[in-house]
Symmetry: C2
Subunit: 336 residues, 2 copies
């Protein structure tokens, strides 16, 4: 049995999902000979530490009761000083600065610590730097959860599609937009009404700008461009058009022609004339990308395997935890 | 650069695909630090050997001209005696005996040699024995190409979905049946007419029994049951109904109700009351499994990641070679 020491930074929706999944299993993956021991958990108030391993169920209970037992150490101090094998960094995304995740990840990689993150900000802003830092310090840097939540992407391309040249990737990478467009098309309800409904259901944020204007999708396109296609691009390199101007009439016209309208993100190196684009686009109803509701879907065009489509839940606390867990198990399996 | 010695057994459609892909790259995967050296290739007449590495482009040319330079060694002798790291076994599937692939794989595993196969017979008949043999001899046994061709399945479940309990898997695992049902539904053509067309196009075999009666799909269900769910079942444990009795009328009725009919294979441990089933079933037109043409699709219901759907080309020489290549690269990456 390998014991892997973990420091979890972030106790929002995703962090609680990770802690909950691990608490249910007591960190045990016996069939793989792996035991995760959480030696610290940090929220915005600082670190809760137990070098013998925290009882995560108790930690989650204390968090919900506002009684977390902080030891006075800040999150940054914990990242710099504690003895751990993997930093699981799941703080909220800041698309402009990447902070605080960017600093956290940088500090851990500089110490040669492996990092798993679900945070799009640091990857969209500093992928190249972080990737080089990981190589230089012989650390493993994994970020499956940043694109498509539970929908496999990076591990799929690097594992199942290993040896394939990837020609381009396009897909639906934002569940909120897909929900809105699906409801508009199926129920013939106007944009504003569906958006209100989505807010009530918790599918859209109170301020939905980030999703409906295509920024979230564009961040994922930047991450795919840099991590899979080896580009070095940033958010401002993406042509972005969101869904707020999609009218009910255009959806009806599309439907009459056997089509639906979806917010499609695309990255295509296209022999140097690269395409980095987020826009509402027509998709035939019977096309595999024409998925409904909050689903995400990606079409990966490859050299040998042809077109591969993967569909899954793009968000959700437990679903995102699943992607993080697959990264943690990967690191555990290759760690000496 | 790691040099990995490969013995390729089988030079039919899949074997030519593997040799062709490797010839194009001269066996080189520089970004992964891996070089494959093919020290032998076998067809039904025996082995062609060059311990310094065959020129695969020349070998393929000689094969097409009927001028392969056999050295008098049988395939079995080559498997027993040559010095190789990976046996790539791609002989045709025999659903009743598993031969000759079963003997070939067994011999290689007994020698502690790693094996990659696309051959459904040996897996459907003797998965448990072969898996135990691999463990005992510390060999790696990979078979991504046996289910769904280029559509990732085993590597997806074990890598991207690592840590997830898989609740059940159902899907379309036979491109010939899917082509026939799609054409019948879209063109309102009767079964016999579409089947003739499929034979002309090379999508159906001259004797299509194996595909249209659901045997091929059932073999894949057996492999999934044994390899992913740890069952120990065989072909006769599967309830099988093929597509030859699907009428144009039933497809029209389905269509009027917003549905299509697909040949669905399902494996579900279902708390001990296991389901192993192949049958034509109704699928809503907008469901992700309602894919058209020769595509394959699988719905994987998981504990944490929710439902994941993967869609890809289920057959084809190069597509199958892609799955084999991913297995070869996996073995190469973990070999000492």
């Amino acid at each position: 049995m390998k014991t892997i020491k973990v420091l979890l930074v972030g106790l929002g929706s995703v962090g609680k999902g990770v802690a909950g999944v691990m608490a249910d299993r007591k960190g045990n993956f016996i069939d793989r000979g792996i035991q995760f021991k959480f030696i610290g958990v940090c929220d915005s108030k600082g670190a809760v530490v137990d070098e013998n391993g925290l009882d995560l169920a108790a930690t989650l209970r204390q968090k919900s009761e506002g009684k977390l037992n902080h030891n006075g150490q800040s999150t940054l101090e914990a990242i710099k000083k504690l003895d751990y094998d993997i930093l699981v960094e799941v703080t909220p995304t800041d698309a402009k600065t990447g902070e605080p995740g960017l600093t956290y990840i940088r500090e851990a990689l500089q110490r040669g610590k492996n990092v798993v993150t679900s945070n799009k900000g640091p990857l969209a802003i500093a992928y190249k730097e972080l990737n080089e830092l990981a190589h230089k310090n012989q650390a493993i840097f994994q970020y499956e959860a940043t694109v498509g939540g539970a929908m496999p992407m990076f591990n799929l391309v690097r594992g199942s599609l290993a040896g394939n040249k990837i020609n381009n990737i396009k897909g639906i990478f934002n569940g909120t937009c897909n929900y809105i467009l699906t409801r508009m098309a199926n129920e013939e309800m106007p944009y504003d009404m569906v958006l209100s409904e989505a807010k009530e259901l918790g599918i859209a944020e109170t301020d939905p700008t980030y999703d409906v204007e295509g920024i979230d999708t564009a961040l994922k396109i930047v991450i795919l461009a840099n991590a899979i296609f080896g580009m070095d691009v940033k958010l401002s390199d993406v042509d972005i058009c969101g869904i707020s101007s999609v009218s009910l009439e255009s959806l009806k016209l599309a439907s009459d022609a056997g089509m639906v309208i979806k917010l499609i993100g695309e990255v295509n190196p296209n022999g140097g004339e690269r395409i980095l684009k987020v826009a509402p686009r027509l998709v035939p109803k019977e096309h595999p990308l024409a998925v409904q509701g909050t689903l995400n879907a990606a079409l990966i065009q490859t050299e040998l395997a042809g077109d591969i489509v993967i569909i899954g839940k793009g968000a959700g606390s437990i679903e995102t935890a699943s992607a993080i867990l697959s990264d943690m198990l990967y690191i555990a399996s290759v760690m000496k």
